[in-house]
C-alpha cells in the first residue's frame, strides 16, 4: 500500500510532468481525499514555477504582439455570435426544408393509401356485381326457371318487368324496364302477394336511375305455389313493413 510519503514523492515528480501515467492516476485518486498531500502537490507546483522564473525574461519582437492581437481578433470572429446566428439560421432552414420534404412525402403516402382504399372498395363492388351477374346468368340458364311478366300500371304504363323464378333454389331475379327514376327520398319496393297470407310480403327495395332500368335478386322466396302476384309501389326511402299506398307501378299475377 502506498504511504503518504510515497504519494508526496510522486507529487514531486508530477509537478514537473515526470510521473508515469500509473503514478499520476493513483495520485489523482489519492489527492481527492487527502488534504496534506494536496497541499504538498500545490507546493511542488509552485516550486516547478521557480524554474521558469529563474529564466531571464526575453521580450518578444514588437511584430509578435501585433500578430497576436490580430490572431485574437480572428479567433474572436470565429466565435462571433453573428456567425453563430447565420449558422443557426442555415441549420434551421435546412432542417425546415427536410421536415417539409418529410411532410410532403407523408401526405403523398396518405393520399396513396386513400386511393388504394378507394380502389379496393371499388374492386369489392365489382366483385359483388360480378357475383350477382353470375347468379343471374345461372338463374336464367336453369332448366326449371319460370318466367312471370309484370306490366306497367296507370302511373307508368310503359314500364314492365320480367321475373325469372328458380323454384328449386327459392330464388328469383327481376329485371325492370322503363320505370321512372325514383325521387331521392323514395325507393321502389317489390311486394309478393301470397296465397296463404292476407298481407303483402316485402321482396326487396331498389332504385331506378334515369335509364329506367333496374334489377334485384330475391332470396328465400316462398314456395312457388304460395306466390299469388307481384307488385311494385313507391315508398319512403329504405322501404317499409307494409305498403303505404296502392299506387302500383308494375304488377302481375304469378299464375301462368
Amino acid at each position: 500500500m502506498t504511504t503518504h510519503e510515497e504519494f508526496e514523492s510522486i507529487a514531486a515528480l508530477d509537478a514537473i510532468g515526470a510521473a508515469t501515467s500509473g503514478e499520476a492516476t493513483a495520485l489523482r485518486a489519492h489527492l481527492s481525499g487527502c488534504i496534506p498531500c494536496r497541499r504538498a502537490r500545490g507546493e511542488f507546483a509552485e516550486a516547478a514555477l521557480m524554474m521558469v522564473f529563474a529564466l531571464e525574461p526575453v521580450r518578444p519582437p514588437a511584430f509578435v504582439r501585433t500578430r497576436i492581437i490580430a490572431a485574437k481578433e480572428e479567433a474572436e470572429r470565429r466565435f462571433n455570435p453573428w456567425w453563430l446566428a447565420v449558422a443557426a439560421t442555415l441549420f434551421l432552414a435546412l432542417w425546415g426544408w427536410r421536415e417539409f420534404g418529410i411532410r410532403v412525402a407523408r401526405e403523398r403516402d396518405v393520399s396513396q393509401r386513400a386511393e388504394i382504399e378507394r380502389l379496393e372498395h371499388e374492386n369489392a363492388l365489382l366483385n359483388q356485381r360480378s357475383e350477382k351477374l353470375s347468379a343471374e346468368m345461372a338463374a336464367l340458364a336453369a332448366a326449371d326457371t319460370r318466367t312471370i311478366s309484370l306490366s306497367g300500371q296507370e302511373v307508368a304504363p310503359s314500364a314492365s318487368a320480367k321475373v325469372f323464378l328458380e323454384p328449386s333454389r327459392r330464388r328469383a331475379i327481376v329485371f325492370f324496364t322503363n320505370l321512372p327514376a325514383n325521387p331521392n327520398d323514395k325507393s321502389y319496393q317489390l311486394w309478393i302477394i301470397r296465397a296463404d297470407q292476407p298481407k303483402p310480403m316485402s321482396a326487396g327495395v331498389f332504385d331506378v336511375t334515369q335509364s329506367g332500368n333496374a334489377s334485384i335478386v330475391i332470396e328465400n322466396l316462398p314456395v312457388a305455389t304460395e306466390i299469388k302476384a307481384l307488385a311494385v309501389t313507391l315508398e319512403p326511402r329504405g322501404g317499409v313493413e307494409q305498403p303505404t299506398n296502392t299506387t302500383f307501378y308494375v304488377a302481375g299475377n304469378a299464375s301462368m
Binding site: 514555477l49 521557480m50 521558469v52 522564473f53 529564466l55 521580450r59 509578435v64
Partner: protein
Amino acid sequence: MNTSVPAATLLPAIARGDVSAFETLYDRYASTIYALLLRILCNTDDAQEVLQETFVKAWTSAKMFDALRGSEVAWLISIARSRGIDRLRSRRIRYEREDEAGREISVRSSFVEFTTGSDMAIQSQERTAVRGALAELPEPQRRALELAYFEGLSQSEIAAKLNEPLGTIKTRMQLGMKKLRDRLQAFQ
C-alpha cells in the same frame, strides 16, 4: 508585482471581452512565457508561434480560469509549457524521420533575438533568490529536473539519455524538487 491592474482581475475581464485587459496580460507576462518557450524549443520562430497560440488560447478560454487552482501566470505557463512540449515532440519525430532519410539537420539553428531585464511576473530580487536555490542543487539533480520540465522527457528517457539507472533518476528528481520546495518556503 507592481502593476496598475491587480493580476487576479485580468482573466475575468478578458472573459468578458475586455481587449485592454488582454493587452495588459500580454505586456505583463509575454517576456516570461517567451523565455520559457525559447528554453523549451530553442528556436525563435517556433517560440513565437507557440507564444501566439498561448495568448489566443488565453483569450478564447479565459472563462475556464479558476483562481482557486492557481495564479494567472501559473495558468499561462501551464498552457505554454504543454504546447511547447507538444511542438518539441512533433519536431523530434519530424527530425528523426528526416535523419532516417539521410538529411543533415541543425536542430537548434537560431537563438534569442534580444533580451531585456524587465519582467512583470517576478521581481528581480526574487529571481535572484530562485536562481540561487536552483544553483544550490547538485548538478545531476538540476539536470534531471530540467530534462523533465523543459524537454518533457519521461523518467526512463532521462535515464537512457544520462545513462543512469531509472531508480537513481527518480530519486534525483524527487530530492531536487523537495529542496526547491523547501527553499521556496524559506523565501516566504
